[in-house]
């Protein structure tokens, strides 16, 4: 406990020295860490500081072993304190937004209500129920999972794609069905064959709007050109305008630039 306290004090001191505002901890679900995982402070990259690996065991146990079992082949080279990959020694500045922040931002960008974003099987809320833990949450009341993962879980990218693709499909279909009430694809003209003009100002505006709302930046000229060019690959689709809008929406909102801050 004393060692944990010292580690906590050390982490806070380093973070303050680096000018990092720690209010982020309070804003993040489960940010106080779970019930007392020994050393959890060091493992949680919430201080934006270099986190040294824990020292090798310093107990007074007799010699290791290093044992490979008696009936095993000669031991493989196993992980050891000296064989840490470089990633473990690099400070992490990026933060995963997690399930609640991700959904709120998606709602804002696509102008959807919470229950319009994504429902698995049309019944179960994607972000706050089915994929809550995959998207970096804890689930203490219903699943007895008290602590969130310190890093995005392995299945987070797929879980997030499911959410975004569902929400994008909803937004695009609504905008195309009622152009006068469109919240994103404003003034984009789509003809009877489902075609749009990728060189039109309305198309550029739609891309700029999505980038500004989602990524808080303008698209580079090269990106605008690339999105215009991307349309050419879709012209044989049944509804190329719709496909193009889904493509842009999905790509921007599943990008790592959107899920991290």
């Amino acid at each position: 406990m004393r060692a944990d306290l010292a580690a906590l004090v050390g982490s806070v001191a380093r973070a303050v020295a680096a000018g990092i505002v720690l209010t982020a901890i309070a804003c993040t679900e489960g940010g106080a860490s779970g019930p007392a995982t020994s050393g959890a402070v060091d493992a949680t990259p919430d201080a934006g500081v270099l986190t040294p690996p824990p020292p090798p065991d310093a107990s007074t146990e007799p010699a290791d072993a290093g044992v490979a079992p008696a009936d095993a082949e000669p031991p493989e080279v196993g992980p050891s304190p000296d064989a840490r990959p470089p990633a473990a020694r690099v400070a992490s500045n990026l933060r995963f937004k997690r399930f609640d922040q991700l959904r709120l931002e998606l709602q804002r960008v696509l102008a959807l209500e919470a229950d319009e974003v994504c429902q698995e099987l049309d019944r179960f809320d994607c972000t706050h129920d089915v994929h809550r833990v995959a998207l970096g949450g804890s689930d203490p009341y219903l699943a007895n999972v008290y602590a969130r993962a310190a890093q995005p879980p392995l299945n987070a990218p797929l879980a997030w794609e499911r959410v975004v693709l569902t929400a994008c499909a909803e937004r695009v279909d609504r905008d195309l069905a009622e152009p006068e009430a469109a919240s994103w694809l404003k003034e984009i003209e789509i003809d009877a064959a489902g075609q749009l003009d990728p060189a039109s100002a309305a198309v550029e505006t739609a891309v700029r709007t999505l980038y500004r709302e989602a990524l808080l930046r303008d698209p580079a000229e090269a990106e605008l050109d690339a999105w215009r060019s991307a349309y050419a690959d879709l012209e044989n689709e049944a509804a190329p305008g719709r496909s193009w809008a889904r493509l842009v929406c999905g790509a921007v909102l599943t990008s790592a630039e959107f899920v991290f801050h």
């Binding site: 065991d57 072993a65 044992v67 007895n144 890093q151 797929l158 493509l247 921007v252 991290f260």
Partner: protein, 489 residues
């Protein structure tokens, strides 16, 4: 308390030959090469399982004058099978509780591969003790057992480490150097989990697979390639891991994981068919093995665990009952607080929960035995260690002759391993029949040597013993060599 090898063989044969056959397989030299993985299957005894209510029970006649004051059973309720005991409470004999016990059957079927050993926890706080039994009280880099196994064997497994357990058993380790793919994937709903293994299958607003592939390519080529944020932080661990996850998940999608792991028959409540999601081809036999699969999350976890191992998606899977009461129809199938319901009513709740986890373990073992590992006659079971970790034991005192009594947490307890790789057919350590207290054993002896100076091996020794049983090398770790847990050590 121990058997000689010869005695064990005779006993195994007497138990029906299953143990003998397993023993023969267990003696085969198995490689610890990561390319030839061994599998860890944790079936957690959440809440504090009392070994004195199962495989180290004390008959009243054995306890002498102390029998009325400690947790002893009427002699007829305790069957001795080899080195183990098995408790069966006659239905209705304890305040209406009691029911079919699977303990005698379990010992007869799996005793030759079962190792029960005394263990001393370092905490009587549930989440802390649960974490420590899986991470050896931070014995090695802060890695949990499932993480260490996954790091050694799991590189080629898309979901190397899946954890469906709860509370402290669900906690991640604290080693920042652990490969990202060895970290546990937490599963809180085994029925819905497969949906998270595809970016597009079964979406309520459909996307074609080719459309998703095009989107991913455009995302990388257009958005992320021009992102100043990502360029500046190209070596940031978060972004690096995100890319690693994506690469691994592509393998998962191509492996058809959703179809392989979908254990849901389509129903009005969960209409999977409506969304084009086929169920696992194994569903009929899983329903036969786990008849409450559709209602009981623990049975659903077990079914999913089997499929994860069968399809070589995972090398480490952890499951546990929930710490809430579950009633199906009129039957209570899970005690409130699981084994910890013993605080108020010890004996029947311990019996209920032992039956619950042993029944699931029994059926998982059967499924794994029936699953070929390779063409050389090995089954998946031959390479599996089924560990039943519990965080601590229970106090053993009761008011005079009380059939209903409550017990507190106790540092003294025991762990159960079942595996062809384990030093099975033994109880290591013993129970003092006059007091119900446990005694330890020498962990570095290859046969059972009772050590009355301690009450069981430590969390660190359990951690080392299980890792080495699985053939995970631990160079430079300082971990002890717990030979007593390994067959042929």
């Amino acid at each position: 308390m121990s058997f000689t090898r010869r005695q064990l063989f005779i006993e195994s044969a007497r138990w029906g030959g299953v143990g003998a056959a397993a023993m023969a397989l267990g003696s085969r030299r198995l490689s610890a090469n990561p390319a030839e993985p061994r599998f860890l299957l944790n079936v957690c005894g959440l809440g504090g399982a009392s070994i004195q209510d199962a495989f180290m029970a004390v008959r009243a006649s054995e306890a002498g004058a102390n029998a009325p004051y400690i947790n002893t059973f009427p002699d007829a309720w305790v069957e001795r099978i080899g080195p183990f005991t098995a408790v069966s409470i006659p239905p209705g004999d304890v305040a209406g509780f009691g029911g079919d016990s699977i303990q005698p059957e379990f010992v007869r079927r799996h005793g030759g591969e079962m190792l029960v050993y005394t263990h001393r926890a370092s905490s009587v706080n549930h989440p802390i003790a649960q974490q420590r039994v899986l991470n050896g009280d931070r014995a090695w880099l802060g890695r949990t057992l499932p993480e260490a196994v996954a790091a050694h064997y799991g590189d080629a497994f898309p979901l190397a480490n899946v954890n469906m357990a709860m509370s402290g058993f669900a906690e991640h380790g604290s080693d920042p150097s652990l490969p990202s793919w060895a970290r546990a994937i937490s599963v809180t709903d085994p029925w819905m989990f497969p949906l998270a293994l595809s970016g597009h299958l079964g979406l309520s607003r459909p996307w074609a697979g080719s459309e998703v592939q095009r989107m991913r390519a455009a995302r990388a080529r257009i958005v992320e390639a021009h992102s100043e944020l990502l360029r500046t932080n190209v070596d940031d661990p978060m972004w690096t891991q995100w890319r690693e996850h994506r690469d691994r998940l592509a393998l998962l999608e191509s492996a058809g994981a959703v179809e392989k792991l979908n254990i849901n028959p389509s129903t009005d409540e969960r209409p999977f068919d409506d969304f084009g999601l086929p169920t696992s081809a194994d569903l009929p036999r899983l329903q036969a093995a786990f008849p409450r699969l559709a209602q009981d999350p623990f049975e659903a976890q077990a079914a999913l665990a089997f499929l994860l191992l069968k399809h070589r998606l995972s090398v480490s899977v952890t499951i546990s009952p929930a710490p809430q009461q579950l009633r199906i129809g009129r039957e209570v199938v899970n005690a409130s607080s699981a084994f910890d319901a013993a605080h108020g009513v010890h004996r029947p709740n311990q019996a209920l929960m032992w039956t619950r986890i042993l029944r699931v373990a029994d059926r998982l073992i059967d499924l794994l035995k029936a699953e070929p590992y390779n063409g050389a006659g090995e089954s998946l079971w031959d390479r599996t260690v089924l560990f039943m970790p519990t965080e601590f034991g229970r106090g053993q005192y009761r008011p005079e002759n009380a059939p209903i009594f409550g017990t507190a947490h106790d540092l003294e307890g025991a762990q159960v391993l079942v595996s062809p790789l384990a030093n099975g057919g033994q109880v290591l350590g013993e129970v003092d029949r006059q007091s119900g207290r446990l005694r330890g054993f020498d962990p570095e002896a290859s046969t059972s040597v009772v050590d009355a100076s301690r009450t069981g091996i430590s969390e660190k020794e359990t951690y080392a013993g299980v890792l080495h049983l699985l053939g995970v090398p631990t160079p430079g770790s300082g971990l002890p060599d717990v030979r007593a847990l390994r067959r042929n050590a």
